[in-house]
Each structure stands twice: as C-alpha cells, then as structure tokens.
C-alpha cells in the first residue's frame, strides 16, 4: 500500500535535528512544523475538522496537566513513583485517537495519554502509582490493556490478540506500545516475527524518546529503529512524535492497513522524554541540559497552539477554557488520590485464581485471625 511505503521526500528537519547527538531526519513524516505551520506530506494526508483540532489540543493540554499534577503529588509523598509522559503527549494522543472503539491498545507503563483517549479514569491510573492496586482499570471494557512493566512483554500479547481478531474475522486491529529500549528485548523481536509470519492485524507503536532510563538510543540500535521493520518484512515509518497530526495520520494508516489484512506496521514516533525516567531518576547524571533546551523548541503542545491561533481555529477564550478545565481535572485528580482508600488486606487472596484453592482459603483465614489479634492495640 502506497501510504505505507517509505518516503524519500525530504521534509524540513525539526530545529536541532542536525545536532551531533541526533541523526538526520530525511524520512521524518511531519504535518505540523515545530513553528506550528501546517505542511503536506505525499503519503499521509489528514482530514480533520476544526472541531477535531480543538479536541486534540484539549487532549494534549489536559494530559499534560494531569501529568504535572501527578508529579507534584509524588513529590508530596502521595504517590510511590510517577512515570512522566512530559514531551510525549502528541505521540500518545495521536496514537490513541487513531484507534477505533473496538481496537485494542497494549500500553507500557507510561501511556497515560493513551489511557486518557480510551476513557480510562485517571484515578485508576493513579491507583497503580499510589500502590493501592496492581491492575487499575477494566481492560475489557476500555479496550486498553493493563500496564505492562516488564519491558516488551506486551508486544507479544498484542500480536496474539491480533491473531485472535484475525481468526474471528473481526475488523479491528491492535496497537502495541513500546519504547526505544524495548526494541532490544528478544520478546519484542519474537513479536515482530510472529506478526509478520501470521500477517497479524497489529501495529507496533514505538516511542523513541531517545533514552531507556540513562541509556541512549545508540546503545540499542545502529540503524534508525523504523528501518528494522524491513528486516522483519513489513513497513516501517518514522513520524515526528511531537506532531499530533502526523502521528494521527500515520497510525490511522497503519491500523487501516492492519484491518484490511495487510499485516503489521512498525511506527517509530521520534520524540523526547522531557522529564526524568520516573520520579526516582536523576537525568542530570547522564544527559546535558542543552539537549533538553533544544527539544523544548519542538514542544508538541506549543506547536498545535501556534497553529490553532494563527489559523483562527481557536481564540484566547478557547485556550482559557481549556486551562480552566485542566485545573478542574487536576483538582479532581488530587482530591481523588488523597481520598483513595487503602485496599483491604484480604484482597491479596481473592483473585489469584479463577477457582480458589483450599490452601489459599486457609491462608486467608489465618491472615484474618492474625490481624484480628491486634485489634484494639492500635495496629
């Protein structure tokens, strides 16, 4: 399919792309420049209404507001840890909004922006990071799988789910999220082999945020990641991950191809992790502040805002209303997090098996009796 063939078209590189630590970007798909100028791409066109553009902006801004609030809550001791998506909003919102209702997404642990687009309650995501739950939301109802912390494991699940869709003759696809570091895992490579062999309706959405914790992408790959797809026998495309329109267009095309029986696509969303790996991390130990400064110029939200205002699609009143909505959302997240009840201890026994075992019943009773022994002792 022509929309998925690799393009040789040279688009404007994002500012700073020629800096020594970044490879050149001849194959980058872009529909919105960092300055907010709408550009065309020969293989990827995008029809979006003004209303849809405003909605995308709203998604980006709200997801960032949530993220900022979560980081603050962690600093205040209300979360054990937080994995920030700062800088990756466009990659996640663009990918998430490309999904149809029945498509299934398989996230890592950082896809809060995708969770948002699937209608997952942010508080359910917060519950994981507060340490009150190991799952968080209903993956069946939301079509958003549980977060997967073990790097790469979910890419195989997405592939298997896609094989199930294929068997059922369903006109849906799956979207497997992964990071740049994850591409080194054996399981991820197995997923791509399976997806290719069975022509499974799956797209691999790799957010290349340039780092796996402290390890730069150069440690994982000698070639641009999207070029790896060719070796597996399916198309690979590099998209400007800070351009929500390009991400939306490229992901839509990949999912459409998957649904039409053309098999997998590998999407490399070229972006940058603006924050620390998690709140436990200290990026000053391994990267330069100047790098961050360069990437600030490519901010995903600023560029859409520039486009919307310049083209008259949104006015100051709109932006103010989104800001206000963001503050409300943040307040709701804060309140909900602080009010989140600790789980009952007995919960740990209750869903281990579909059919409970006598031994766990016994351990549960022992647990209850043991804790009852402390009652009134202020335990």
């Amino acid at each position: 399919m022509s929309t998925l063939s690799q393009t040789t078209e040279v688009v404007d590189p994002v500012p700073g792309a020629g800096a020594p630590h970044l490879p050149g970007q001849p194959d980058l798909v872009q529909l919105l420049t960092p300055e907010g100028e709408r550009v065309e791409h020969p293989d990827y066109s995008l029809d979006v209404s003004d209303e849809e553009l405003r909605q995308l902006y709203r998604d980006l801004a709200l997801v960032r507001r949530w993220d900022v609030e979560a980081t603050a809550l962690q600093r205040q001791g209300e979360l054990g840890i937080w994995a920030s998506l700062l800088g990756q909003e466009a990659a996640q919102v663009g990918a998430g909004r490309a999904l149809a209702a029945d498509d299934m997404a398989f996230p890592t642990y950082r896809e809060h922006g995708v969770a948002w687009t699937r209608g997952v309650d942010p508080l359910h995501v917060m519950s994981l990071f507060r340490g009150v739950d190991q799952g968080g939301w209903d993956p069946v109802a939301t079509h958003f799988n549980l977060y997967t912390v073990v790097i790469g494991a979910q890419t195989l699940h997405a592939t298997g789910y896609a094989m199930g869709l294929q068997r059922d003759g369903a006109e849906s696809a799956t979207l497997a999220f992964l990071g740049d570091g994850a591409t080194s895992q054996g399981e991820v490579n197995e997923a791509m082999i399976w997806a290719a062999t069975f022509s499974a309706p799956v797209a691999f959405f790799c957010q290349n945020n340039q780092y796996a914790i402290s390890v730069p992408i150069e440690r994982q790959s000698r070639v641009p990641l999207y070029q790896r797809a060719a070796g597996f026998g399916f198309p690979g495309v590099r998209v400007d991950g800070n351009d929500v329109l390009a991400v939306l267009a490229v992901t839509r095309a990949a999912l459409a191809a998957a649904r039409e029986g053309q098999g997998p696509t590998f999407i490399e969303a070229f972006t940058y992790r603006m924050g620390a790996h998690t709140t436990s991390d200290d990026p000053t130990r391994y990267r330069l502040a100047s790098e961050l400064e360069e990437w600030k110029l490519r901010d995903p939200i600023a560029r859409l805002k520039a486009h919307l205002s310049r083209s008259g699609i949104a006015d100051a009143g709109f932006f103010a209303s989104v800001d206000a909505e963001g503050d409300e959302l943040a307040a709701r997240i804060r309140r909900g997090t602080l009010e989140m009840a600790d789980p009952a201890g007995t919960e740990i026994f209750d869903h281990v098996y579909a059919e409970q075992t006598p031994e766990l019943v016994r351990q549960r009773e022992e647990f209850v009796a043991y804790h009852a022994g402390f009652e009134g002792e202020g335990h």
Binding site: V150, I348, E359, Y370
Partner: protein, 326 residues
C-alpha cells in the same frame, strides 16, 4: 586495622572496585550501570575509573546480558551481571537455568562459568509491580548454581569479592531495602568464608533462621523477645545454596525449636527444605515442628499492603510463641 562505616550499597561498590583492581578480567555488565551508576548507585563511579569496556551499559535485554556473559566466561572473563530488579531476571532465566547452570557439568569442567548475577531482591521499598520479588528458590532449585544473600556491610564488601573470585556461577542477592543500612567494615580483616552460615545472636529458647533482608527483622524480634524474657538464637544463613546447616543443627539440638523466616512465599520456599533437613537431623531434639514465616502464596501485593504481606517482627514473634506453645 582500617575500619570504615559503610552502607551495604557503598560496601558493594567498594567491593566491586577492589575486585576490578585485583583482576583485569572482571567485567561489569548491566542496564544503566555506567553514567547512572545503576538505579541503586551500586556501580557509582566505576565506569569513570575503569572505562566503558569494563563497566558496560548493555542494550535492554537480560537474556543478552546472561547469554553473552557465558561466551565471555568461555574466553576467561569474569562477568558480573547486574539485573536491575528481581522481577526482571526472568527474560534471562532461560540462559541461567539451561546454560549457565549446566555448562560446567556438560563440559566435564573444561568450561568453568565464573559468572556473578547480582540481583537487588525483596520488598519493603513501596515499589510498583515486579520490583519486590524474592526469586531465590527458583535458583536454589537449579543444580549448578550457587546462591548467596548478604545482610551486612562487611558481608557485602567481602562477599561480592569472594563471589567474583569463585569458579562457579553465583546468584548474588542484595537486600535492596537494606542498601542504606550502615555498619563497620574492616577492610584488613580476614573475611568469613562465603558459603558459611553464622550465629549472629546467641540464645537458648528458639533458633530463628533468616537471610538477606530478614536478618535484621529476626534480630529485632530477638531483641523484643529478650525484653519478655525469651532468648532467641538468630542464625544468618548467608548462603542459600549450598546451605550450611551444621551450625543450625547444633543450635536446634540445644533449643529444640526452629523458626525459618523469609520474604518469599512459604510454599516450596527455602523454609520448606530447611524444615525437612532439620527434621531429619534433629528429630529427637525437636520440641515443636519447624515453623515457617514468609510471604503468602499470592502475587506480591500493591505497596500499600506490603507491610501486611511481609514478615515483620510481630509475625516472627507470633511463630516463636506458637513454637514455644507446642
């Protein structure tokens, strides 16, 4: 004599440094162990001083770390592999169990596998999933592997050096929640052997066995018990495979009672093996069955529940009471 006050983490760092100075064949491999110094900073400063060919930030692939360690070991290197967290050793499990553990036997000793697999293990740090596991039994169950668990700064300092110098593959378990605990390390002392258990508190009424993070818990329990007039003998097993149970048998023959404590689930945990061996060796001295205190047979819980899941002083004392009640 030069004694320093060190945390367990710093003692490991200095021990690694010493091992690298002593033997140019020692190579550290792992995720984020270079500039970052590892997520727990155990390798802090080592890449700067020894270079990035001796302190290697690997691609993000644990099977790759262990599989290439095998090849490097065949070439006479001594790979020291850092697994970032206990829950992430499983992509490497195949290499560890089917290859690392068997190559010495299959080659009739022609291919020694002096590989150290460092794993920060256990819970208690309020982490998300897969960061609080106690996988020791999987490894102890595998012939060809040795498994040790340190609990103090001197054991960390010496133990890591002894493990690296040892000819067999060793799973080296580091009690992550105790990394910041301090203790005196005499770097001129003659260390205790690596594969030896140690009586860390003498007592007469009940023998309490622990290793890694639970040694401190057992000692706290012994302190609390002493205030109530009960005398617990605490033994730090130190080595999980091979087990060094002679001091345990001596102790149990005196006390007649034994409680084993670990974070790992009790079912088929180390406590099960120890209970069987103690029963075989000390049957006529036992006043009570050997009791096990450990995690429940459930997945590791969300962190808000980990205090209820993990053995603590009270659960150890509860088992001591039950033992004394027989």
């Amino acid at each position: 004599m030069s004694t320093e006050t060190l945390t367990i983490g710093k003692a490991l760092n200095l021990g690694l440094r010493k091992a690298m100075e002593d033997d140019a064949k020692v190579v550290l491999m792992g995720e984020d162990i270079g500039k970052l110094g590892g997520v727990f900073r155990i390798t802090d400063g080592l890449q700067k001083d020894f270079g990035d060919d001796r302190v290697v930030d690997t691609p993000l692939a644990e099977a790759g770390i262990l599989g290439t360690a095998v090849g490097l070991a065949m070439r006479g290197y001594r790979p020291v592999c850092e697994i970032q967290f206990d829950g992430f050793v499983f992509p490497a499990y195949n290499q560890i169990v089917t290859q690392v553990a068997k190559i010495h036997a299959r080659s009739r000793g022609r291919l020694p596998m002096p590989i150290v697999i460092r794993i920060p293990f256990g819970g208690g740090i309020g982490a998300v999933e897969h960061h609080s596991e106690s996988p020791e039994a999987y490894f102890a169950h595998t012939a060809g592997l040795k498994v040790v668990a340190v609990s103090t700064p001197p054991d960390a300092y010496w133990g890591i050096q002894q493990a690296i110098a040892h000819p067999d593959p060793i799973v080296f378990l580091e009690p992550k929640r105790r990394y910041w605990e301090k203790g005196q390390v005499d770097v001129d002392a003659t260390p205790d052997p690596l594969f030896a258990s140690r009586v860390v508190r003498g007592g007469d009424d009940v023998t309490v066995l622990a290793y890694g993070p639970m040694v401190k818990t057992a000692l706290q329990a012994a302190q609390a018990a002493a205030e109530e007039g009960r005398s617990l003998e605490v033994i730090d097993l130190r080595t999980v495979s091979p087990l060094d149970l002679a001091p345990v048998f001596d102790s149990v023959r005196r006390t007649g009672r034994c409680v084993v404590v670990h974070e790992a689930p009790v079912t088929l945990g180390l406590g099960s093996e120890i209970a069987a061996r103690v029963t075989e060796e000390c049957f006529h001295s036992l006043e009570a069955p050997v009791l096990r205190v450990g995690g429940y047979d459930t997945p590791y819980p969300p962190s808000k529940l980990e205090e209820e899941y993990l053995p603590d002083l009270d659960r150890v004392l509860d088992a001591v009471d039950r033992s004394l009640g027989f």
